[in-house]
Subunit: 192 residues, 2 copies
DNA sequence: CATGATAGATAACGTGCGTTAGGTATCGTA
DNA sequence: TACGATACCTAACGCACGTTATCTATCATG
């Protein structure tokens, strides 16, 4: 019946993803995607009602990629895995990291939700045994803030030039431990 | 000779600044600025050769505003002043903060330069007496990272809803002290 | 082999952009 | 009062965008 499909949905999303990887979401336009695929805009409108629908599919594609980066971290410490995945995201996909983490949008869950999701993980961490729930949550917030700042500097190339990937990860881990140690030593755990 | 000027350079820059404050630099277009002023695009091209020149003037205006925010912090501790000024920037001008601090551009000086500028300040800080220069620089880097992350969360409204301005400033100060305390207690000061 | 469903191409629409050419109106001076 | 410098307006150019109407070409089925 119909001619064989040359540009299916996934192919289109992939082309748009590559454009966004290089120039952010604003680099996605019907004509730019078509040009990258070597076709006209017709296949795009056959698969997506509007360019916003295509953008939504690309965002979904980015989320999947982000999840893969996290899954690629197979160390024993979940916090370390999350931190390293964030740094990898910022390093390998700086434009996308900015779009997803440094712009106001609905892609980032509210901190409370993330915190609630991490609460049981922290409760099972032997390094945090004896900490109050409030203190654990406050530590998590601090580490998330530091991780975001470090990832932002990575994504924007604002870190000292001598810091390579390994040095950045070390800085993240080292500071995390120091914050925890600092919270322990200043003993404000319970009076928040 | 000529008719009296109704839209001078500063007026135009101010209008463009307000647009950028609300919608980022991309909200600055000749027609949008003209509409805000209630005039045509002619006065803009009388004062600026291109819209990029206007943008450069707006960036200068933003830098001045940022400097005023810093000058408004009159506490004794320069690091605390810088941190609070950064938070005020992110809170009061989130779109501009993103443009200036969370995008790759030439507006942010390389970290090494900032570090060199702060080195003498840190050297005179009694709280850091006995610290090696390398350790002081590393502490400064960590605090800058944390400050950036916290400011980014403020600018994007990603902080827990219960955190008001005061709570955010306390988090910044508290964590700064904890990092310093953690670095002290883990005693790695000298072997970087 | 003819048909019909449909993948894809083409070209046009309206909008907003930067920029510019040409016209109008003001206002101190001669 | 007439002049000239110039602040400002209007309208247009070319370009890129999202979107759509129309056309062409394919290809399994009858």
């Amino acid at each position: 019946m119909p001619p064989t499909t040359r540009y299916d949905r996934d192919t289109i999303v992939e082309a748009a993803f590559e454009l966004a990887k290089e120039g952010g979401f604003s680099a996605i336009s019907t004509r730019a995607v078509a040009k990258r695929l070597g076709c006209s805009v017709a296949p795009i409108y056959q698969n997506f009602a509007t360019v916003d629908d295509l953008l939504a599919a690309v965002v979904e594609r980015v989320r999947a990629m982000s999840g893969e980066l996290l899954a690629a971290q197979t160390g024993p410490d979940p916090f370390e895995n999350m931190g390293k995945a964030s740094l990898a995201f910022a390093r390998d996909y700086p434009a996308l990291f900015r779009e997803m983490a440094l712009e106001p949008n609905d892609y980032v869950a509210p901190h409370e939700l993330i915190e609630d999701a991490m609460a049981p993980v922290m409760a099972g961490d032997p390094a945090l045994a004896g900490w109050s729930d409030a203190a654990r949550r406050r530590l998590f917030l601090k580490m998330r803030v530091f991780q975001l700042g470090l990832s932002a500097m990575v994504a924007n190339g604002h870190l000292p030039s001598w810091m390579d990937e390994k040095a950045v990860e070390e800085l993240l881990m080292e500071t995390g431990e120091e914050i925890a140690a600092g919270m322990m030593s200043t003993r404000k755990d319970e009076q928040e």
